[in-house]
């Protein structure tokens, strides 16, 4: 058994490609567990960051600094009564959140966390991603319809129209990024996500910096379309409580409603990881070609350990400054345990990094390399997540017709222009 496991730990081919269903299943489980943890963490970070933007503290009561708040919310939603409106369509009402969830999670089979750390490396990676993200709109339309009342229906029609129109701009931005992959020496582009990142590695630049203004422009268009695609921040027409129409998920309650929220957060993470893969050089650490020296290699491999050490330090300071009143005793213990957990992970990562440095061929080296890939990828996605929260705190909401005008009359022409310009520049240069 151990060599079977070793064969896959060290393998340079994604389980999907190797055709090994068992190992692919384990990857799927790891990724979905990871995404769920990320969604829980995102929920906590969003509430706390939004609060501190607005000079308030955010959840502090449930667990130390509100750390257990997301879990409490999840439990509450599970225990809440699950009301199905009268004359609503039982089957469709039940299926709608599942479609949304399916669309949000299916994208993860394609996202590359590392050269071999992805569920499967489809050679139509990007196309699959675009297709599945358009399925999300179906879930919302059907949810709005099944709630059998005017305003969720209007809300659903609006948010679907928004998703469909921004999907066009998003698709064109993605195409211009894919075009860049084919303008290298070999002349054959690739749709597979791992191939795109490797193309960026070969060409030595992230696509955001390639053909200077074009890469950045395409990235900006994708970033804007991405927010509209997940109904977030300035484009959150659906949950606009001050407007007349309520969101498509007003009639949902309890667990069903939490499925929608899970789908929304998962879609956010999925879409931003696609942006990272396409423009910010997926799992590549910064300056992979310039700083080749083994010393640089070692310092960069220390980063994961250091970040966890930093988190552990923050949690430690939190425990120290916890007031000594008896009420806070449990919270202090809880935070202390959390801090020590983070510290031990940090220690483990540093150990692997050091071990990997000493004997290059050993498993530790491969392990620390894998961790490095995943770390850099997750770090970039985390930065995107913070952007989502930042937008939500600062921007007012677009009116629906302005939103559609921006989608069709501003984003679409620019993305077409960028696509044509990239093609021309590509043909001229290569």
């Amino acid at each position: 058994m151990p060599n079977f496991v070793m064969s896959y730990l060290g393998s340079t081919v994604t389980p999907g490609q190797a055709g090994n269903q068992f190992w692919a299943l384990i990857y799927v489980l790891i990724i979905f567990a990871g995404v769920s943890v990320a969604v829980v963490a995102m929920n906590w970070i969003e509430r706390k960051a939004l609060a501190h933007f607005q000079i308030r503290l955010g959840p502090m009561r449930v667990g130390p600094h509100g750390l257990l708040q997301p879990i409490a919310d999840a439990l509450k939603l599970m225990l809440k009564e699950d009301i199905i409106p009268a004359e609503a369509d039982q089957f469709v009402f039940w299926v709608a959140p599942l479609i949304g969830l399916l669309a949000a999670f299916a994208v993860y089979t394609v996202i590359p966390f590392g050269p071999s750390q992805a569920v499967s490396d489809m050679n139509i990676g990007i196309l699959f991603m675009l297709g599945v993200s358009s399925l999300g709109a179906l879930g919302i339309v059907v949810a709005g319809w099944a709630s059998n009342s005017h305003y969720p229906l209007i809300g659903a029609l609006r948010s679907t129209a928004q998703m469909v129109s921004y999907e066009v701009a998003m698709g064109l931005a993605v195409v211009s990024a894919v075009l860049m992959t084919s303008l290298n020496s070999t002349g054959t582009g690739t749709l597979s996500m791992i191939g795109i990142v490797q193309a960026q590695q070969q060409q030595g630049t992230w696509f955001i910096f390639k053909f200077f203004p074009l890469g950045l422009l395409a990235f900006m268009i994708f970033a804007i379309a991405m927010i509209a695609e997940t109904n977030r921040a300035p484009f959150d027409m659906a949950e606009a409580e001050s407007e007349l129409t309520a969101g498509y998920h007003t009639e949902y309650s309890g667990l069903r409603w939490s499925l929608f929220m899970l789908a929304e957060y998962a879609a956010m993470i999925a879409v931003s990881s696609i942006a990272v893969t396409l423009w910010l050089g997926g799992w590549m650490r910064p300056f992979p070609n310039l700083l080749q020296a083994p010393l640089w290699e070692f310092t960069f491999s220390l980063f994961p350990g250091l970040t966890f050490l930093g988190l552990a330090a923050i949690a430690g300071v939190g425990t120290a400054r916890m007031p000594s009143h008896s009420f806070f005793r449990i919270q202090r213990i809880g935070l202390g345990v959390f801090a020590s957990l983070l510290a031990s992970i940090a220690l483990l990562l540093l150990l692997i990094a050091v071990a990997g440095r000493s004997a290059d061929t050993s498993i530790a080296a491969r392990f620390s390399e894998g961790i490095g890939y995943v770390y850099w990828f997750v770090l970039k996605v985390a930065i995107f997540m913070y952007l989502f929260i930042w937008y939500r705190a600062t921007w007012p909401r677009y009116r629906f017709d302005q939103l559609m005008r921006v989608g069709w009359k501003v984003l679409l022409p620019i993305s077409l222009g960028v696509l044509i310009a990239t093609a021309i520049v590509g043909v001229i240069i290569s």
Binding site: P234, A240, S242, P396, Q402
Partner: protein
């Protein structure tokens, strides 16, 4: 949000059963019900819609009517003073100032200079507080969540000063007929000065967040436009009138309570849209800071209460006295029959009059803009319904 009240009988139990499918919805009457989050209190607006565009509105008010004017006829002048604060509960101090000055005019008694200065300082502080509350809720209606918390944090400082001066934060029964009840507490000038230095950069913070914010511009520019002629015809006053380009401010036009001693400008807008009203109110906040600073530096010594008989029996007659409240011209028309209780007391609330302009401003806009326009007229239902 109650189900759409159609003029025809419509089976309310199944809202889904509207005869006209949504596709080619013609005349649709929607209720922005009394408990809608964006109607600043209990105002019901019946919107006549064609699809998304507003054809006409009809405001149903009276949900907060307490019959204040009728009560005034059975109260003595001094007893009625606290009622006045409950009308525009956001700018309670300026209500009190208006009432006291009206009665003083009836009694032709003059408040001593020190009382006048204290009154100016507190009223201007109240104007800033009212504008801050307006900005917070208005931005929230349009979707920006953060300004609400900034404005409420700063408004808290003002309410602390009120509390220390007269014990109440919101409905501060600060003034009495003939002057002020309380001498300023020990650190009053210091607190006000600290407040001035504290709030000046904060207003820049609001401006930084919203004034050049593209989406804010898009949601407020050319929305809810009212021309100067319409404004004057409707009797609209206050920032709404000034935003349409009419330079009319009672503090300058009919100076009262020591305003003639201070110099300050009147901010005026040009197009009369939501963005101009936003700019006018922000500039007004800065002007108020200037006034308070001049007042605090030059506050005279001396008595704070004029000689007013214990039982106030004004001579027979009637007077109308109006002041510049944060929302517009707040007027008191008192008819006295020589007894201790007014024969008739009529209040001209600015919000009630400004609300008439809603219909003109909103016609042809989209439903989402109705929310923004109600916010920019800055109405308080306590004052509208009295």
């Amino acid at each position: 949000m109650n189900a759409p009240a159609k003029d025809g009988t419509q089976d309310v139990s199944k809202p889904w059963q509207s005869e006209k499918p949504y596709l080619d919805s013609n005349e649709l009457i929607i209720n922005m019900g009394p408990q809608h989050p964006a109607t600043h209190g209990v105002l019901r607006v019946i919107l006549k819609l064609d699809g998304e565009r507003v054809l006409g509105t009809e405001c149903v008010i009276g949900y907060l009517h307490r019959g204040v004017e009728k009560i005034a006829e059975n109260r003595t002048y001094a007893m009625f003073n606290p009622y006045v604060d409950r009308m525009d509960y956001v700018a309670a101090v300026s209500n009190g100032l208006g009432y006291c000055e009206a009665v003083e005019k009836l009694l032709n008694v003059e408040a001593p200079p020190r009382a006048k200065y204290i009154r100016v300082i507190l009223t201007e502080l109240n104007r800033i507080a009212s504008h801050q509350l307006w900005l917070g809720t208005h931005a929230l209606d349009i979707g920006a969540m953060t300004p609400l918390f900034y404005t409420f944090r700063d408004r808290e400082e003002i309410l602390k000063i009120f509390e220390r001066y007269c014990g109440a934060r919101l409905t501060a029964h600060a003034f009495r007929i003939g002057g002020c009840q309380y001498e300023t507490y020990a650190g009053f000038e210091k607190d006000v000065k600290n407040f001035l230095t504290f709030v000046a950069p904060k207003i820049d913070e609001y401006e930084a967040l919203l004034t050049t914010n593209r989406i804010w511009l898009e949601r407020t520019k050319n929305v809810g436009v009212i021309s100067a002629a319409d404004a004057i015809a409707l009797g609209v006053t206050g920032p709404v009138l000034r935003a349409s380009g009419v330079k009319w401010d009672l503090r300058k036009a009919q100076p009262y309570a020591a305003y003639s001693d201070f110099d300050f400008e009147i901010p005026v807008g040009t197009r009369g849209d939501t963005y101009d009203r936003y700019l006018v109110r922000m500039a007004e906040m800065r002007q108020s800071l200037g006034i308070i600073e001049q007042a605090v530096n030059a506050i005279p010594e001396g008595p704070i209460m004029a000689k007013v008989p214990k039982v106030i029996k004004p001579p027979v007659g009637e007077i109308y006295h109006s002041i510049e409240a944060p929302k517009g011209e707040l007027g008191y028309f008192i008819v006295s029959d020589g007894s201790t209780q007014p024969y008739r007391l009529r209040v001209r609330p600015p919000s009630f009059v400004n609300l008439q302009a809603l219909d003109i401003m909103v016609r042809g806009l989209l439903v989402a803009d109705v929310v923004a326009v109600i916010g920019t007229i800055d109405i308080v239902l306590g004052e509208v319904d009295r």
